[in-house]
């Protein structure tokens, strides 16, 4: 009952993060125990991560309690879900993940052109801007390829184009 009241007093994101920290702490503690914590006179590879997993879990719970009793919450930036503009950041993260997965298969030039085209046009829908987006994406992808690959000799994925 008390825990429920405490939990309800925190905002949704604090709850989410508290949950994440606790899961990480439990997971790391289990993995560390499997690795072997050893003894204090002969510390094993799991001892140090185990100590900090316990510390992470404990501080998370302390934060949970203090945020209720000391009303720390009032001094934190209050960000209700509606004020976080999820749309564009999550679209960009999604495209970056797709880009990372396709980079070696498609190659640097094509995948970077597609990514830049999307990024340059993010939130801008007019016909003129689309054309500018294509020109900008082609120019940037080719210029960056020439600078990093040809000039600075940094190997970039060749992919289907073979260059």
């Amino acid at each position: 009952m008390f825990a429920k009241r405490l939990f309800n007093s925190m905002n949704k994101f604090d709850q989410l993060f508290l949950g994440v920290w606790l899961v990480v702490a439990i997971l790391v503690a289990i993995l560390s125990l499997r690795l072997g914590v050893g003894t204090f006179s002969g510390p094993g590879p799991g001892l140090f991560p185990f100590v900090f997993a316990i510390f992470l879990g404990t501080t998370s719970i302390i934060y949970w309690i203090t945020s209720h009793f000391k009303q720390i919450r009032a001094r934190l930036p209050q960000i209700p879900p509606e004020t976080i503009y999820w749309k564009r950041p999550s679209v960009v993260v999604l495209f970056l993940i797709i880009y990372s997965l396709c980079l070696t298969r498609i190659g640097y030039l094509i995948s970077t052109f597609i990514l830049l085209f999307i990024l340059f046009n993010l939130g801008l829908g007019t016909k003129r801007k689309w054309k500018m987006g294509i020109i900008g994406a082609v120019t940037t992808a080719v210029t960056s390829y020439l600078i990093f690959n040809k000039l600075l000799q940094i190997p970039l994925p060749k992919g289907i184009l073979g260059i």
Binding site: G44, P45, T59
Partner: protein, 496 residues
């Protein structure tokens, strides 16, 4: 005499054509990123870190250090001309700098910021030269327990000073330490928490981590807003750049005070350039005969903080070069860069690789001079750069991050990791977590663990080893003092 000889040798290294070029490139790119709002020194150094991998270690540190102190110069330009701080250390410059610009005194404000930064940078470097060697000699007495105690105190102090509640900083720094445990254990050679991913055997790379936490997350935060351009740029005549005699008389005390304050505050973990500039502003207001005029265009309010943030950059190098302990995320990146180049920062650095200390130190003199000579005439260029639309700038930053993390090991896994850390950094920043304790926990984690385990092995499992010498006792007392101050509300300094 020995210092003079070493400095001459340092200048010989610093004046080599290649190093002169890298120094120039560093300060130029640093000023550029300092000018651009949103891109701070950590993001700038992390973006350009992979570019330095092909260089010699000295050239790499010269360039990265140049970026760091270059951002301090550049940050003031946007604060004064547009009322938008280019980086956090220049936030306080907005108060009086922009007011001076509104009164038609943008030139003297920019001028005193540049001259003040130059003087402070030079004084800071003299302090660095004089203090580093004795401190490195002293640090040679440190063994594993002393290092463990010093790192513990450093991390707790950093958590205390960091933005937001201390407990949040402790959470995030312990997460950083846990991240540093991923990979092969150096003592037993067992793989830890790799989940059978071969790419994780070498551990999480500092480049994808920092690029994600600072570069990608910064872009994501910027993407939340409408990508419209903000404010107007204040135009002024180039002829007005030089401060008047009266400006100099009013500013000289502020510059000296700011330099001394900034240098010593810069040495402390977590304080860095931001706090030192705010502290300097508070001191100037306190010593002024007309404190009520601060915020209305007082030149002391520009000179002091700008001097303090530049001197702090020099101070921050002392713990890195002498103890091998980075005090802020930029120093953590330099620490990582030195390790990547096979050089262990610490008390033996100045003995084993004197060129690694004296080369960058002398190049900092040269870099400060370059900044002074180049920056004032280049102010119109920096103003033009402010006009680059964010919808163009942000994709370019993302592209630099991608190439930077890929080029490290030619691995897309590193790119993917960077994106994931970017997403994590974005969410953590939105929740009010400070990224500095995470990065420092991550960077110091391996040293912290090794010294902890070695101490226990030496003592046969007895924790009394951590209070067996005067250094570790003092450090442990400091550790508990910080904890007591933080958790006993009446003593909490932060709320004063």
């Amino acid at each position: 005499m020995e210092i003079i000889n070493l400095l001459i040798e340092g200048f010989r290294i610093g004046l080599e054509p290649a190093n002169l070029f890298y120094c120039f490139a560093g300060v130029f790119l640093g000023t550029l990123t300092g000018v651009l709002p949103g891109l701070g020194p950590t993001a700038a150094v992390s973006l350009l870190l992979p570019v330095t991998f092909g260089m010699s270690p000295v050239s790499a540190i010269i360039m990265l250090a140049g970026i760091y102190y270059g951002t301090m110069y550049g940050g003031s330009t946007t604060s004064i001309l547009v009322n938008i701080p280019g980086e956090t250390a220049s936030v306080i410059t907005c108060l009086d700098g922009y007011q001076m610009a509104l009164k038609g005194r943008a030139g003297p404000a920019l001028g005193i910021a540049a001259f003040g930064s130059f003087i402070a940078g030079t004084l800071g470097l003299i302090g660095l030269m004089l203090l580093a060697q004795p401190l490195a000699q002293f640090a040679l007495q440190f063994g594993p327990p002393e290092y463990f105690c010093i790192i513990s105190t450093g991390l707790i102090l950093l958590s205390f000073i960091s933005r937001g509640p201390m407990v949040k900083s402790l959470i995030i720094s312990s997460f950083g330490i846990i991240l540093s445990c991923i990979g092969i254990d150096v003592i037993t050679s067992k793989t830890r928490m790799t989940f059978n991913f071969l790419e994780l055997a070498d551990g999480v790379g500092i480049v994808p981590l920092v690029m994600g936490l600072f570069g990608i997350s910064e872009v994501l935060i910027n993407l939340e807003k409408e990508l419209k351009e903000e404010g107007g740029v204040f135009y002024f005549k180039m002829i007005d750049l030089f401060p008047t005699r009266d400006d100099w008389i009013r500013s000289k005390g502020a510059i000296v005070r700011g330099s001394i304050l900034g240098f010593f505050l810069g040495i402390l973990p977590g304080i860095g350039t931001v706090t030192s500039s705010f502290f300097s502003y508070a001191v100037e207001k306190k010593v002024s005969k007309t404190p009520e005029k601060f915020g209305q265009g007082m030149i002391e309010g520009v000179a002091g903080p700008e001097a303090a943030n530049n001197a702090a950059t020099a101070g921050a190098f002392i713990p890195l070069f002498t103890l091998g302990i980075p005090v802020n995320p930029v120093m953590a990146l330099l620490f990582g860069a030195l390790l990547i180049h096979g050089i262990q920062p610490g008390p033996l650095l100045m003995q084993k690789h004197p060129e690694m200390f004296w080369g960058p130190v002398s190049s900092m003199y040269i870099g400060n001079l370059m900044l002074l000579v180049l920056n004032l005439p280049l102010i119109p260029l920096w103003v033009q750069i402010l006009k680059i639309p964010k919808r163009v700038l942000l994709p370019l930053i993302l592209l630099f991050c991608i190439i930077g993390s890929y080029s490290l090991n030619n691995s897309v896994v590193e790119v993917l990791m960077m994106v994931l850390f970017g997403m994590m950094g974005y969410l953590l920043r939105k929740m009010g977590y400070d990224m500095a304790p995470l990065v420092l926990g991550f960077v110091l984690g391996p040293t912290f663990e090794t010294n902890f385990r070695q101490s226990l092995l030496i003592s046969g499992g007895s924790f009394s080893i951590f209070i067996s010498s005067s250094i570790s006792i003092v450090s442990t007392i400091l550790f508990f003092m910080v904890l007591i101050i933080a958790f006993i509300p009446r003593l909490r300094l932060r709320n004063l």
